[in-house]
Symmetry: C2
Subunit: 118 residues, 2 copies
DNA sequence: TCAATGATTCAAGGATTATTGAAATATGGA
DNA sequence: TCCATATTTCAATAATCCTTGAATCATTGA
């Protein structure tokens, strides 16, 4: 993730409906959610959700795939991880204050992280 | 960091000049930088840098303190850490793909992280 | 007190982004 | 083919954000 992409990703996450969408898709996992289901849960009109989904896809934070009549959206975990990484990058050189709180949350990933820290 | 704050923080980071400012301040550490120095490095007019610094301060990602005639800005490491945390929160419940890449970068914080992972 | 320095505020404008509803597209089944 | 469903696209409006330059405020030293 370079700075250009990060800018777009931050912009994508800076809007209430879109942040809501991303969090829903992260939770819903690889099955994702259809556009209509997202619109319903977010209580937004179809055309409006479409606008925001497009913006999120442009940012690379989500992906789409057609399944019959529905279009299924899924979170792009790599891109989200890349954004976290971008946020932490400059900091770690001398400023573990930023990484440390992340480590707390990352405790759930303990097995994978322990590998990395060997 | 709650969702409302995160929205503002993402918005703050979604603008080129502001993202540049934050990265400079993170690197410059606790000494921070004066508004004028920031404006010079970012090649932006004083009034424009002031506009963006205000926005960043509103987001809580940076803080200011007057020192003689200058106003010194510093990165708020807690807030930045809080944002990283927020980004990772929903993910870890079943989706360590997001946390894992973060762990790579966080290797610099290994001592602190190993404590947390005991 | 006066001038110089460092920075902010303000109003005007230009630019971008968000919302809305109507129309269009794509798919699957009767 | 025709209809219903699921979604997107488009154009118009509304709202927000960014930039600019002039004016203002705060601090320091002569």
């Amino acid at each position: 993730m370079d700075q250009r992409q990060a800018l777009i990703a931050f912009g994508a996450l800076s809007q209430e409906t879109r942040l809501h969408i991303v969090r829903m898709l992260v939770v819903s996992g690889p099955d994702g959610m259809a556009a209509g289901a997202i619109a319903e849960k977010a209580e937004v009109s179809p055309s409006n959700i479409s606008f925001h989904l497009k913006e999120l896809e442009r940012s690379g934070l989500i992906a789409q795939q057609r399944e019959s009549r529905s279009i299924i959206y899924t979170a792009n975990y790599e891109a989200l991880g890349g954004l976290v990484r971008f946020l932490m990058e400059d900091c770690c050189s001398g400023h573990p204050e930023i990484c440390a709180p992340a480590a707390e949350v990352a405790a759930c990933c303990a097995p994978k992280m322990k590998e990395k820290l060997q």
